[in-house]
Each structure stands twice: as structure tokens, then as C-alpha cells.
């Protein structure tokens, strides 16, 4: 008897909680208003490398597969697929009712064209390397696509979610040439309508979208470069969804008016401080460990980031498959903030109380947000007698110097291109990727190389996960980077916005707005 009451109570509680969203049925109509800090450079999927372009183009284009809100690969234009036993032949069966915005039916040939376009040196796609594992791509029949790989590559299906693999119509690309980047034609839920550069981009609903027309009539992105001004616009109701500047977080997140309308999600990325391990004195493992121990990550996350990120101890973020709780606990135990232990490590490195250690320079790329964190780290280093100064460059110079290995201590962030540990551990730490290809620490450890290479060819997940956990442990011990925090994405939306979710990979910029609807207007 008591049990059934409890169940009744639970059920009614669940209804109460869900009540607000169940009470209303989705409505059609209205204009969804977003903002971007800068004009997207390009809306051509083959050229996209930044989040602003990605967010807009994602509404216009579709690929074979995509991530669902939980980070699982699900079909998009491909309704199903099969992978050969040896892991080299992928066969995709496409929906037959997908149309480009110009009215033409999408066939397997379109995917052949789109993928070969990225591989073509003449396109000079910055993401050509994503197609590197592909040996051949053919249309077996009108709606069947076969992709053959040079050798097994376990993360391949995940990589197909990436923007460069979205399908584009050959006739429009050839007709528009370079202007395709500003007048994109895709298959997506929204059709490109108008773009006033540095002011506004407008897309309208695609009534013939193969998964049904989206709820809103149009989406508009206002270009607002200053984040303070952007947030004022949100508070005035001029924008429906936006991010929250760190300094505003306390006020906003404690305001009952805003609190229910904040979405939060851990995304697959880390913010870290890197060392060039080939450069003196940072070739000294104990020095790196000492610095790792003296950085007060909790303080940075709590005070500077206002608790909006999660303190990191591992390379792989918790939302990445392959994240090892064991490694996390081990690293937390060994490397959490402890000034006394840091002093001991520094002495072990041969610099008792910082004696004999020249002043070091911490580099970062120009940004107020990075500046705040670097200032905090600099103050931490002083606690064990390490003198440090800061130096910033704009991103172009910064990348150049990083590639050349000229920055001994630097900050970087890494957000996954696709959800697979390969995108972190192989890219950032395999010695074949020194420099521009991702390993900016110029780190080389035979064991890490061995396991990250083996994990690429292996197709069985449980075995791969083990390889990655072994490699990660070695890296954590060597400290070529200091993980500071795992990124958490927060957005705020107006009460009239419904159906919003955050993408597991990139947060807001990965959202497809076809599921979002408005209860106002």
C-alpha cells in the first residue's frame, strides 16, 4: 500500500517537472534571433574551420550521418549503413526523398562529388586531411554509396559527421564558383535568404525538408562583436539565445528571472597550458610536474571562470568515450594543487625555491578571457619562486610561433572535431603530429606512439579503450601539458524558446535549430 503511494507521488512529481514542457504543443512560426561575434568567413562546407560558420552552415546542409544530442552517431541523409568485417568498406543507404534547395533530388552521386571535391587539391580545402583515409568513393546505385578506406580507421564514421562531408549540389558550386561561400545551397531545414555582412544573416524555413519543415519561419544572426553589448541585447529581449559573459555569470545565474532558462552541458574539450618539452628548461619532467602542482585549477575555475567549467586532471574529458575514472583519480591524487609538494618537485628538478631557474615567459593569444587565466597562473607560479611574465600575440602570429616550437609555455584549447579519443590522444601527443598537425608540445614517447597508433587500426572498442587509458596515463605522468579545465557550455534563452538543446561536441554552435520552436509572436 505504502509502495503504491510512493509510486503515485513519484509519477505526479515527474508530471509536475515535465509539466511545463508537456503543457504546450510545438507551434509553427516566428523568427529565431541569435547573435555571432563576427561575420562567418564562409558558408561553403569544404572551407569551414570556425564555429561561427559552422553554426550557420549546419542549418543549411546535411551529411550522411550526424550526432544526436547524446553524442551518438545517427543517420541523416543515410538511413542506415553497414561496415565490412575488416573495417575498410562502408556502405550507406540513402533516403530517396532528400532535395537540394534548388529542387533537385539528392543521390549517391552528389556525395561522390562532394567528397571528391574535398580531396581535390584544386579545392584547397583546409579539411582535406579528413578525407585522407579514403581510398575510393563510388555510387553503387542511385541511393547507395560505397566508401572504401585505405586501411581500417576506427573513428571514420565519427569523422563523417564533420562539416566538410556535408553534401553540396555540383551544378550550384560550379555555377557560383567562389561565390558559393556566400550564397550556399544545401539540403537543410533552412534555406539561405540574405546576408548583410557584419550586420545580419537570415535563413528561412525549408518547407520541403525531408524530415518535415522546421518550426520557426526564419533564423536571424545579428553580428555583435562586443560581448557586453550582446548581453545587453539579450536582456532587452532583442536576441533569443546567447552565451553569458563570465563577469555576468553570478548575477544572471542567481536571478530567478533567468535561472530556469539556462542550459548547461559539458562539451568535449579541454583548456590547457602546454610546454614545449624539447626546449630547456621544460625538457625537465620534474619542473613540468612542479608547475602542474602549483597551478590552482580550483581557484581559476571557481573565481575566474565563476564555476562555469570543470576542473580537469585528465586529457580526455568525462564526456568523451574512453574517459578513465581511474586515470582521473590517479592524476588528482598526484597532481592536485599543493604548494608544499610543488616545492619538493621543484627542488627535485634542480631548482630549489626557483633558484637557478631563469624567468620564464607564458604565452597566450590576445583575448581578455585568456589574459585573466594567465594572470592567475602567473601569480600561482610565484608561490614556489618561479618568476614568470606574460606575452600575448594575435592568433596568426601565435599559431606560427607554436608551429615552429618557439613558445616554451603556452595556452591552448582543444575541442574535439569528432567524438573519439583518437582526436585527442593521437592528434595532440603522437610524435608524427609535431607542430601544426596538433602536437605543439613536441612530445615524443615511444609507448604513447605505440598505443595511439595501435588504437587507430583496432576496431574492437573495449580493446581501444584500454590502449587509450594506457597512453593517457603515460602522458599524465610526463606532464607535457597541464589540463586546466574541461569546457562546459552554457547558454541562456528567452522564456518563449522551446526545444533547445546543446550539442555534445561544441555546445551552441553545433545545434540544429529545426527542433526549436517559439511560443511568442
Amino acid at each position: 500500500m505504502r509502495k503504491s503511494y510512493l509510486i503515485l507521488l513519484l509519477v505526479s512529481l515527474i508530471f509536475l517537472l515535465l509539466g511545463s514542457s508537456i503543457a504546450q504543443t510545438p507551434q509553427y512560426g516566428g523568427v529565431l534571433r541569435r547573435s555571432l561575434v563576427n561575420d562567418p568567413p564562409t558558408l561553403d562546407p569544404a572551407m569551414i574551420t570556425d564555429t561561427a560558420s559552422d553554426e550557420v552552415a549546419r542549418q543549411i546542409f546535411d551529411g550522411l550521418v550526424e550526432y544526436d544530442p547524446n553524442g551518438k552517431v545517427v543517420g541523416s541523409i543515410a538511413k542506415r549503413w553497414s561496415i565490412s568485417k575488416d573495417g575498410t568498406v562502408y556502405t550507406f543507404y540513402l533516403h530517396d526523398n532528400v532535395y537540394f534547395h534548388n529542387g533537385r533530388n539528392v543521390t549517391a552521386e552528389d556525395f561522390v562529388y562532394s567528397i571528391k571535391r574535398i580531396m581535390d587539391p584544386k579545392t584547397a580545402s583546409p579539411r582535406a586531411s579528413f578525407a585522407e583515409p579514403i581510398k575510393d568513393v563510388v555510387a553503387k546505385d542511385k541511393y547507395t554509396l560505397v566508401i572504401t578506406l585505405k586501411k581500417p580507421f576506427a573513428p571514420f564514421l565519427s569523422t563523417l559527421t564533420y562539416s566538410c562531408f556535408w553534401v553540396v549540389p555540383k551544378e550550384e558550386v560550379e555555377k557560383l564558383g567562389k561565390d558559393f561561400a556566400t550564397k550556399p545551397v544545401g539540403t537543410g531545414a533552412f534555406i539561405f535568404e540574405d546576408w548583410k555582412h557584419d550586420v545580419k544573416i537570415r535563413l528561412k524555413a525549408n518547407p520541403k525538408y525531408f524530415r518535415g519543415r522546421p518550426y520557426v519561419d526564419a533564423i536571424e544572426w545579428m553580428i555583435i562583436p562586443d560581448e557586453n553589448v550582446d548581453f545587453m541585447n539579450f536582456e532587452k529581449g532583442q536576441i533569443d539565445i546567447t552565451g553569458i559573459p563570465d563577469p555576468e555569470w553570478d548575477r544572471v545565474s542567481n536571478d530567478p528571472k533567468y535561472k530556469p532558462y539556462i542550459l548547461e552541458k559539458e562539451i568535449v574539450g579541454i583548456y590547457y597550458l602546454g610546454f614545449n618539452v624539447q626546449k630547456k628548461p621544460f625538457n625537465n619532467k620534474y619542473l613540468r610536474q612542479a608547475i602542474t602542482r602549483v597551478i590552482n585549477k580550483e581557484g581559476i575555475v571557481k573565481v575566474i571562470r565563476r564555476g562555469r567549467a570543470k576542473v580537469a586532471y585528465t586529457i580526455l574529458p568525462p564526456s568523451m568515450p574512453g574517459f578513465s575514472q581511474e586515470n582521473y583519480n590517479w592524476a588528482k591524487e598526484k597532481f592536485s594543487y599543493n604548494v608544499e609538494e610543488a616545492k619538493k618537485l621543484l627542488a627535485k628538478a634542480g631548482y630549489p625555491n626557483g633558484k637557478g631557474l631563469p624567468e620564464i615567459v607564458i604565452y597566450y593569444n590576445t583575448s581578455v578571457a585568456h589574459k585573466r587565466i594567465m594572470e592567475a597562473i602567473q601569480a600561482d607560479l610565484q608561490k614556489i619562486g618561479i618568476k614568470a611574465k606574460l606575452q600575448n600575440y594575435d592568433w596568426a602570429v601565435y599559431l606560427d610561433l607554436l608551429d615552429k616550437g618557439e613558445l616554451p609555455v603556452f595556452r591552448l584549447g582543444w575541442v574535439a572535431d569528432y567524438i573519439d579519443p583518437d582526436n585527442f590522444l593521437w592528434v595532440l601527443f603522437n610524435s608524427s603530429n609535431w607542430g601544426p598537425e596538433g602536437n605543439h608540445s613536441f612530445y615524443k614517447n615511444p609507448k604513447v606512439d605505440e598505443y595511439t597508433n595501435k588504437a587507430r587500426l583496432e576496431t574492437l572498442w573495449s580493446v581501444r579503450a584500454k590502449y587509450y587509458s594506457i597512453a593517457e596515463r603515460v602522458i599524465l605522468e610526463d606532464c607535457p601539458i597541464v589540463p586546466i579545465y574541461y569546457y562546459v557550455s552554457q547558454v541562456i534563452y528567452q522564456p518563449w524558446v522551446h526545444g533547445l538543446y546543446l550539442d555534445p561536441l561544441t555546445g551552441l554552435s553545433g545545434v540544429r535549430y529545426r527542433a526549436v520552436w517559439l511560443s511568442k509572436k
Partner: protein, 309 residues
């Protein structure tokens, strides 16, 4: 007159070449590779090489520069490295926005500045004179972005009278008011001081004293005789103000989300977008030169003594 104009424009050619050469040299001595930037944080060498080849960045520097000059002769500014949009189109769009902003800022600054300056001069050492000059001096003394944010916070956010940044295509003419005030404050203050001092100078000159002696009314003296002559230095400064308004707009445009040329060029610096940078710098130099030419020509209108050979 026409020959004078043509001569002045021909004289500007070396200035253009100098300006583009400086931009070019600055661009290539600076570290940072546009191809690398286009390729993104993680990129392989092959991809970077392809992008370099696509934009002709693999050719020797002098060749690149002369190819650029050659295209320029055909008025071809090329396409943006970053967006692939023809530079001429990008600049055209932004120039319109900057021109609107600069025009309003200019009108505000002349109206406010010259009026205040003249009243101050006529009523020298009065309370008005002192307070106007103090306000004018304070006006040149505050960082424009600081004023900008405060204006937005007060008039856009708290009072809600004006839009919180954005362009006239979105909010109509209301959108230009706050940025024009933010941008116009400095020139207004200059105009006020300039108008005051040149007015004071003119008032003391003999023909004014004569005019007074003849028994003309004070207002007639001021408006008929003094004003015209007092405006000459103001007009001179107007030419310089154009340059100020164009580059001062960099920060204003960022704060007020105004799609102007200053923002475009600064972004091009950060993006190593050489074609846009070159185009922007040339256009700004051209405007500067034209504005100064216009100033020189307008002397003739104000001061009949000046003639052009």
C-alpha cells in the same frame, strides 16, 4: 582650377604606392601565415601548401607585389583570403556604413562645436565660455569606447530610447545617433576650441573694429564679417577630421556593431587578409587625400583672396 585638381591627384600617386608598399612590407616582415590561419588550429603541411598556392603566396615577394600593382591598375583589388568575397564589394558595403556614421558625427561636431566656440569667443571669460571650454576639453579626454559603453548602458539599456548597437537597416536612423555622438565628441571639442580661438583673433582685427565703429549691430558684425574669416581654420581642420573619423571609427564600430570600414580593416589585420587590408588602406588614403583637396578648394569659396593657378 581643373588643372589644379588634376595636378593634386597626380601628386597623390606616389602616396598610394608608398601606402601599399608599407602595408606590403609590414605584412611580410610580420610573422604569421594567412594560409596557416585559413587552415585552422590543426593542419597538415600539404593543405597549407595548397592554400598558399591557391592565393599565390608561394611566389617571390617582389613578384607578388608587382602582380598586385598590375591588378590595381585594372582596379582589381582581388578577393579576400578569408571570405573569398571580392574586396571591392566588401569595401563598398562598409564604406557606405562608415560614410553615414562619419557624416552624422561630422554634422553633430560642427553644429555643436562651432556654435559653442563662437558663443564662447563672443562672450569671452563668461560662465558660458568657461563651462563650454571645460566640457569641450573633457570631451576630448575620455576613451571613446568607454563613453560608448556608458552611452549604450544609459540610453540603450536603462532608458531604452535608442537601439543597443546595430545598423540602420535594422533599426532605422535611430541607430546612428549614439555612435555618431560617441565618434563626434572629440571633433566637436576640437571645433569648439578652434572656432573660439580663431574667432577671438578675428574679432580683434581692424576691419572688425572698423565695422563696429561704423555702428553696425553686434550680431551683424559677428555673422557678416567675423564668422566667415573665423571659419577658415575650422575648414582646415575639417580635412583632418575626416581622417580622424575614419580611424577613430575602428573602436566605435566595434562597440556599436556598426558594419564600417575600420572594423573591416582591423579584422583584416588580425586575419592576415592582405587583399582586404591593402584595399582598405588605399581607400582610406584616397578619402584622406580627397578630403584635403576639398578643403583646399573650399578656401577659395570662403576667402576670395586665394586663387588657384
Amino acid at each position: 582650377m581643373i588643372r589644379y585638381i588634376i595636378r593634386r591627384l597626380l601628386q597623390a600617386i606616389p602616396v598610394f604606392i608608398g601606402v601599399t608598399l608599407i602595408t606590403f612590407i609590414l605584412f611580410f616582415i610580420a610573422p604569421g601565415d594567412p594560409a596557416r590561419l585559413i587552415a585552422g588550429q590543426r593542419a597538415d603541411a600539404e593543405t597549407i601548401a595548397r592554400i598558399r598556392a591557391l592565393w599565390g603566396l608561394d611566389k617571390p615577394l617582389p613578384v607578388q607585389y608587382f602582380l598586385f600593382l598590375g591588378r590595381l591598375l585594372k582596379l582589381d583589388f582581388g578577393r579576400s583570403f578569408k571570405t573569398n568575397i571580392p574586396v571591392i564589394q566588401s569595401i563598398g558595403e562598409r564604406l557606405q556604413a562608415t560614410a553615414i556614421l562619419a557624416l552624422f558625427a561630422f554634422i553633430i561636431s560642427v553644429l555643436l562645436g562651432v556654435t559653442a566656440g563662437i558663443i564662447s569667443a563672443v562672450k569671452q571669460y563668461s560662465i558660458f565660455d568657461y563651462s563650454a571650454m571645460v566640457i569641450a576639453l573633457l570631451g576630448v579626454s575620455a576613451p571613446v569606447y568607454w563613453i560608448g559603453i556608458i552611452l549604450l548602458l544609459v540610453f540603450g539599456f536603462k532608458l531604452g530610447w535608442l537601439p543597443l548597437g546595430g545598423y540602420i537597416t535594422e533599426y532605422g536612423i535611430k541607430a546612428v545617433i549614439l555612435p555618431a555622438i560617441a565618434l563626434g565628441t572629440r571633433p566637436a571639442a576640437y571645433f569648439a576650441r578652434l572656432a573660439r580661438s580663431s574667432m577671438l583673433e578675428v574679432i580683434r582685427q581692424e576691419y572688425i573694429i572698423t565695422a563696429r565703429a561704423k555702428g553696425l549691430s553686434e550680431s551683424k558684425v559677428i555673422f557678416k564679417h567675423a564668422l566667415r574669416n573665423a571659419l577658415i581654420p575650422v575648414v582646415t581642420y575639417a580635412g583632418m577630421v575626416v581622417g580622424d573619423l575614419l580611424t577613430g571609427a575602428v573602436l566605435t564600430e566595434t562597440i556599436f556593431a556598426w558594419p564600417g570600414i575600420g572594423r573591416l580593416v582591423v579584422q583584416a589585420i588580425f586575419d592576415r587578409d592582405l587583399p582586404v587590408l591593402q584595399g582598405g588602406v588605399i581607400v582610406i588614403a584616397l578619402i584622406y587625400i580627397l578630403a584635403n583637396l576639398l578643403v583646399d578648394l573650399s578656401y577659395a569659396l570662403i576667402d576670395p583672396r586665394i586663387r588657384y593657378e
